[in-house]
Amino acid sequence: MQRRLPQIIAFVFGVVMFLQYFSTHPVARGINAAVLVDFWQIIFAFALIVGVITFVKTTTTGINRAADWPYRLISLAGVIVMPAFAIIWGIKAESPFMWVFENIQVPLQSTVFALLAFFVASASYRGFRARSIPAAVLLGAAFITVLSRSSLEAWYPAALDSFAEWVRDYPSMAARRAILIGIGLGSLTTSLRVILGIERTWLGKEAK
């Protein structure tokens, strides 16, 4: 029963949401809106809260014995301070909550991402080798792409720009399209398997 009831629920919701796609009847539209807004959004929000609680639990467990306890404390301070600011002063544009977001979170997060530029440069020198013909093709495509988007149109023939654009619009796009079609077919079959109860990995391992 521990696994059967969730499978039945998944089947019912799956079939209902699949069938409503083809109906414009007001009852179908009402059910669709109810499931999407009332069930899906609300349950997902609780799932996010569970994630936050799990993070707090993991961070606080053994904090007094952990070598990285100052860092854990700083993380916990952030988790506590942000809701505190929101409760006391609200979350609108000029509030302390948004001040922390704009002057602490945004700079930190975008700078962490900016580090990737350096690692890309390093990888370009140390790892990007034309060791084989396919690797040389990859390298060549990357080379003409970067060159053609470098605002140096006056320095090389216009044909290179056109060629780079053609490569992106046709052979590159074709490969990406094939990947998309493959993912689409795979997602389709996995969704069917989930609804029909063939795919049960989402239920976890414990209850057999």
Binding site: Y21, R29, N32, A33, L36, V37, W40, Q41, F44, A45, L48, K92, A93, M98, F101, E102, Q105, V106, Q109, S110, V112, F113, A114, A117, F118, V120, A121, S122, S124, Y125, R126, F128, R129, A130, R131, L139, A142, F143, V146, L147, R149, S150, S151, L152, E153, D161, E165, R168, D169, S172, M173, R176, R177, L180
Partner: protein, 271 residues
């Protein structure tokens, strides 16, 4: 302080970009077909029509997303297009409101009648699909806590049938969901203002017509700024971007030369 090989590469990149930014020279950019398409997507909207601009990005992409978003919003407001802002990622919420507020102020647009910010809803697929049923049910209140029905702009907006299109400002695959769920199910026109890394991801949708327009990256922002005749972060970053690209290309060439030369030497030694 001991510097290793990779540190010199890092310093080289830092120096190249620093010098380019210190020179502060403008670079003329040729407008690409994609950017022209995005420009026409907004330019052909009739004054008074309404679009959704959805901030579907993380804070990490802001340096690249910001010039794009500002250019699109400026163009829309200059055409007297009404804009509804939403966010399908939590971090886009605060950023989106600030950007809309900034550009609305530039054009003297009033909140509630010319623009509205609805805020964030998690579970983006549910949010996109439920907006197709009812905007007001998905967003009973706006980001500022005002009731949906109290906002004049939203009086005649309740489903995708009432809007001219969606511009998804994204650094990931959320635009795909707009295309596949809103575009496919509800026939909404979808355009993307995306980071450069995502351009090739959306090429098949652009080619098949499922996506109406796309502008990408800092270069795309510079091209768009040229079309709407304003300056901005895109234009300012072009020299630095060009120099950084040349630096990476030089590293690729030098790295491969070093590889092929050192690969040959052991063979010569054995012979």
């Amino acid at each position: 302080m001991k510097l290793e090989g990779r540190h010199w590469i890092f310093l080289g990149l830092f120096a190249a970009v620093f010098i380019a930014m210190a020179l502060n020279l403008g670079l003329d950019v040729a407008v690409s077909g994609d950017t022209q398409g995005m420009y026409e997507f907004i330019d052909t909207l009739s004054p008074g029509s309404t679009i959704i601009v959805s901030f579907d990005h993380e804070a990490s992409a802001l340096p690249e997303i910001r010039p794009l978003a500002l250019a699109v919003l400026r163009h829309a407001f200059s055409r007297n297009v009404r804009v509804i802002g939403t966010a399908l990622l939590a971090e886009g919420t605060g950023v989106g409101y600030r950007l809309m507020q900034q550009t609305a102020r530039e054009f003297g647009k009033d909140y509630g009648s010319d623009w509205v910010y609805l805020g964030f809803k998690p579970q983006y697929i549910a949010a996109i699909l439920s907006m197709g049923e009812s905007f007001s049910r998905t967003y009973p209140e706006d980001y500022l806590g005002q009731v949906y029905s109290d906002l004049p702009l939203l009086n005649d907006i309740n489903t995708y049938d009432d809007i001219a299109g969606v511009v998804s400002v994204a650094d990931g695959s959320l635009t795909t969901h707009w295309i596949e769920y809103a575009g496919s199910r509800y026939n909404v026109k979808i355009a993307g203002a995306v980071t450069a890394a995502m351009i090739t991801t959306y090429d098949p949708y652009l080619a098949s017509g499922q996506m109406d327009a796309m502008v990408g990256g800092l270069r795309g922002a510079a091209e768009y700024e040229k079309l709407i005749k304003t300056g901005g972060g895109g234009e300012r970053g072009m020299l630095a971007q060009t120099v950084s690209h040349l630096y990476v290309l030089a590293l690729i060439v030098v790295g491969n030369l070093a590889y092929f030369l050192t690969r040959r030497k052991p063979k010569e030694g054995r012979g």
